[in-house]
Structures are given as structure tokens and as C-alpha cells.
Amino acid sequence: MATVDEPTRRDIEAFVYLEARLADESRYDEWEALVTEDMHYWVPFGPGDYEPGTRVSYINDNRARLGTRIRQLATGVHHAQDPPSSMRRVVSNIEILSAEDDEFEVGSNFVLYEHAVQATGHLRLWAGRATHRLRRTPDGLRMAAKKVELVNSTSPLPNLPFII
């Protein structure tokens, strides 16, 4: 656990909440503006304690593939998000796990309710732990990595075409 000054802590928490809200509201242009050029977005199978690419993950996006993901969402014909799911997530238990130079590793828990309106109309529940790597830049904090470890990732999952 790392200790940071209070203004830094407030900035970090505000960033995590903003990132969650933009994802909830499918505001992908604004969400994408939060990431760095070396962004890694990872949803592992099971605990994220393996090297991505050595076994199959749900999502293992480098910056280029994340760009493709967001472009696909923006086409208007991505049926899996047409219309976009209505979503709200609650983010809590924010802890600053490490702070080195201008980078912070931040852990948090989340619960996400998704109304999967595209076909079934089911209310889907997603829960897990997010680990953000945030970097201080001249434009403010930016996200260099997001790892999302779902509590039920070792069981079959329904569609996950949005940013979690």
C-alpha cells in the first residue's frame, strides 16, 4: 500500500469514478481520451497472475486492438451493443497499491448492473476487481493499463461487448 498526499488521492479517485461513468454511459470517445498510447486492457481467465498471451483471455487488447474495439462500437451496426446496454456500476474499496515517480497502481472493487436490451432483456450482474495503472501527464492523469478480474471468470460468461 502506498501513501500519497490528499490532493493526489482525490485526483486518483476522481479519475476512477470518471472512467467508470464514461463506460457506463457508452461514451467511448471520451473514454478513449483517457488512455495512453501504451494502454493495455486485460480481462483474464481466472486470476490475472499469468503473462497475457501465454493462455487465452477474454480480452487482451494492446492500444491498436482497443482502438478497433472502440471503432466497432461506434459503427452503429455492432448488433451486440445495438442499442447499447444500459449500465451502472458501483466502484468502491479504492486503494493505492503503489506509487512510483508519476505512476500509480490503483485497486478497486466494482459491481455492475447491465440491462442487456439487445435480445433477452435480462438484467446481468458483473462483479470483480479492477486494477488501474495511472500515469501523471501534462494533461492530467491517464490510464496505461486496466485489468479486470471477474469473480466468475472461470464459468461461461454472456456477451461482454462493452468496456468493463
Partner: protein
């Protein structure tokens, strides 16, 4: 779950429900049809279980379902593969609730009955009070288990005849072409399975996975987001421009055959030779230059081995029925041996893009299937609710036990359903589940 009306005798008349050019939507939603399928297809027939490379060491096991029957595929002490019920022979407790593991033996958590890796009952705690012969009380086992090039199949009833008859020339060729992608001739399924849970009937997956007509519409978002995938030249060019074909073999095995369409070698891998030089060299050493060249140009097949094995190019997928309206589509990257790991890294990345609940392709297929399932949820046998599968029926070619046609034609769908009809029709008047 919304159920249809109780099935009437007519609802199980599979020769009526599956016609040459159309099928009835109640086949997706009727619980009585699902029960018949679990018997006739998943009990009486051969079903894909897994690949021997998944359990390399003695005691390795993976958990599977044969239809809805829970099984373990296990590496035995003698090196052979066993397939046993994941259910204690005493009171029926699931022995191994995890996806996979390694055991010296299987001990039930309820009363401690213990089984050897091949399912033989080794011991019962408190033997003085138990007088049956333990030799008669092993784990349930399918009547037949066999493999072809490491692909393990099981037939619970034991009455399906030899696996080679089930695969036929078509299924054999498809598994050969898949296995030959590896320089050793042996593929490796060691990168883990991911399951996608879809609220649709299982049969929409053999259909959708092997449908050459839907790409431009279902996957329009991918074409716009990535305008240069290899799918552009092989299936998305439309009815007149694509040289790809759709093919149905005897036995319900079907293929989208892209081989005629590739304009470069390794197009199916989305790369060039210098990026995967070690792999290409290994293919040439193993097969000779001519055969290696064919493999590098043709790539792996895109095909269904009836009823549940999807040879998804450089992925293997298992279609697992859960309930009439619930299916799990499991996939794992098809890894190769006899070369450096860089090509396998590439294959894992390619798999993550194409397959699974967060992929660029299967997510759209899933929603389409879920919409289709919803549209038939109230379907009862009658005049409404038919599915038209006539596309291309007048222009398909028949030769050597195969039918083939334009890539956009529904030859694959008809091939699946006509075999399904042959298998299911024998249920009428003789249903083991008492529905007929």
C-alpha cells in the same frame, strides 16, 4: 423460462418438421425435442469430448458434458484416455466440481467412496456394512470411447457403430487437415477454454458457425472497423465475386471452404512468411515443400463435425446444449508443435479477437441467435414459424457423396438438418423419453 405447449405427437414428427427446403422453429424451442436430442444425438450417437493433448500427464482430467451428462476425460495410469461419469456411483455427488485438475484417484466428498482414474471403485468406507461386489460399482462409462488423431469422441449407448463410420470420409478429411496444421501432425489444446453462454438453442451454432451468407450483415461492424481482414476476400465480397464454396458431407459434417479464395499464402493467419519463418520451415521439414506449400496456402478448415465439434480454423470449439434455450459455446486456440512458441502466441491473439464473449465476431452472432430464439419461443407445430433454408438448392452440385455450392448458399444448413432428420426420425413411435 417460457415453455411451449406440451408436445403433441405431431410436434415430434421430424420428417414433417425438417423438410428439404425448410425447418420448423419449434425444433429450437420445444422441450420435448430437446429431450429427444439428448437421447438420439447425444446418447445414441458419437459426440466430441476433447483432445488427448489436454490431459498430458497421468491423473490429468478435464470436466466435460456429453449433451447434459457430466463427464471427466482422464489420462490413465497406462497412458490411455478414460471417459467416466463425473458422478459418484453411490449417491450421485459430482466428484470434481472444477474445470480441470490432476488427481491420484477420485474420492467422493460425501461418503468417501474412492475410484481409480479409469473409474474402477477402489474402496468404500465401512466395508463391513456393505455387501455388494465393488467390481460391479465403478463410475458410469460411455459404451464406446475412441479417438481420431487425438480427437476423443464418446458414444454413451455403445450402439453407434465404429467412430470411423460416424466421421466418414468428410469428417476424417476435416480432422486430418486440422491436425496437419501442426508440423508434428499433432495439435495441442493447452491454452485453456473460454465459454460463451448464449440464450439460444444449441442448433443455431452449427448453423451460424458455418453460414456463408450472414457475414456482410451480422458482421458489418467488423468490416467497417477493420476494412482489411482476410474475411473480406473470402466471404464478404458477395454472391458473384467469392470463389469460396459451401459444402456438405455425408453424416451432417459441413464446411465453409475458403481454399479457392486465398490470394496469398498464410492469409488465414493474417501474416507473411517472414513473421512466422520457424513455423513454415518446420512444415517444410515435416511434409516436404509441396505439401507444406498447400498447407500454408489452404490453411485450416472451417467446419462442423456433427453434432458438436466446430473446427474453427485455428480454434477448436465445442457446442454444449444446456437447455432448449441455453447453450455454451466453448473455444480454445489450436496450438501447433514442433516450432517455436511465437506462432502460438500469434494464434492466442487471433483467437481472442475472433472467439468468445468479448470478441469482435461471436458477440454479434450471439445476439442474432438470441433474437432468433426469442422469435420462436411460442412456436408450436403448425403453419406459422417456418425457417426457410432453400437458398441455392437449385444450383448446388452433387459429387462423391458431397454437395457444394456458392459460399452464400444454405448447403451447410441443409446438410446439418437433413442428417439431423435422419437421426431424429427414428424416435417417432419409439421414443425412449415417452414423448411420441
Amino acid at each position: 423460462m417460457a415453455l411451449t405447449v406440451q408436445s403433441s405427437p405431431a410436434s415430434n414428427d421430424y420428417r414433417h418438421l425438417v423438410q428439404d427446403d425448410r425447418i420448423h422453429g419449434s425444433l429450437y424451442t420445444d422441450p420435448a425435442v430437446f429431450a429427444d436430442e439428448m437421447q438420439r444425438i447425444f446418447t445414441d450417437g458419437w459426440v466430441f469430448v476433447g483432445h488427448e493433448s489436454e490431459v498430458p500427464e497421468v491423473g490429468d482430467w478435464v470436466s466435460r458434458r456429453l449433451g447434459t451428462e457430466p463427464l471427466l476425460m482422464v489420462r490413465n495410469r497406462d497412458g490411455a484416455i478414460s471417459v467416466v461419469a463425473n458422478r459418484c456411483a453411490h449417491r450421485g455427488t459430482t466428484l470434481c466440481p472444477q474445470n480441470d485438475g490432476n488427481n491420484r484417484n477420485f474420492r467422493c466428498a460425501y461418503h468417501g467412496w474412492t475410484y481409480d482414474l479409469d473409474g474402477t471403485l477402489l474402496g468404500v468406507p465401512g466395508p463391513k456394512g456393505f455387501h455388494k461386489d465393488t467390481a460391479d460399482l465403478g463410475l458410469d462409462r460411455p459404451g464406446q470411447v475412441d479417438d481420431y488423431r487425438g480427437f476423443v469422441f464418446a458414444n454413451r449407448s455403445g450402439t453407434a457403430g465404429p467412430l470411423s463410420d460416424h466421421l466418414g470420409a468428410g469428417g476424417t478429411d476435416l480432422i486430418d487437415r486440422t491436425s496437419d496444421m501442426s508440423p508434428t501432425g499433432r495439435v495441442r489444446l493447452s491454452a485453456g477454454w473460454i465459454g460463451q453462454r448464449i440464450d439460444s438453442n444449441w442448433k443455431m451454432w452449427p448453423e451460424s458457425d458455418n453460414d456463408g451468407y450472414h457475414l456482410n450483415f451480422t458482421h458489418a461492424s467488423m468490416a467497417r472497423a477493420v476494412p482489411d481482414t482476410y474475411y473480406d476476400e473470402i466471404v464478404m465480397t458477395g454472391e458473384d465475386a467469392s470463389a469460396s464454396i459451401t459444402r456438405a458431407y455425408d453424416g451432417g459434417h459441413v464446411e465453409l471452404d475458403f481454399r479457392r479464395s486465398y490470394s496469398t499464402e498464410l492469409a488465414w493467419l493474417g501474416t507473411k512468411r517472414e513473421q512466422v519463418a520457424d513455423y513454415c520451415d518446420a512444415l517444410e521439414r515435416a511434409y516436404g515443400a509441396d505439401r507444406a506449400k498447400t498447407i500454408m496456402w489452404d490453411g485450416p478448415p472451417h467446419a462442423l463435425v456433427f453434432p458438436n465439434l466446430f473446427l474453427a480454423e485455428m480454434n477448436i470449439a465445442r457446442i454444449e446444449p444446456v437447455a432448449p434455450g441455453v447453450t455454451v459455446h466453448h473455444h480454445t486456440p489450436l496450438l501447433v508443435e514442433g516450432t517455436d512458441e511465437s506462432v502460438n502466441r500469434r494464434l492466442v491473439l487471433q483467437s481472442e479477437a475472433a472467439m468468445g464473449p468479448a470478441s469482435f465476431f461471436l458477440t454479434d452472432d450471439a445476439v442474432i441467435a438470441e433474437r432468433m430464439h426469442r422469435a420462436f419461443e411460442g412456436a408450436a407445430a403448425g403453419d406459422d414459424g417456418w425457417v426457410d433454408l432453400s437458398r441455392g438448392i437449385e444450383r448446388e452440385h452433387v459429387e462423391d457423396g458431397q454437395r457444394w455450392s456458392d459460399i452464400t448458399d444454405e448447403t451447410t444448413n441443409r446438410g446439418f438438418w437433413h442428417h439431423y432428420r435422419d437421426v431424429m426420425a427414428s424416435v417417432v413411435g419409439n421414443s425412449p423419453n415417452g414423448h411420441a
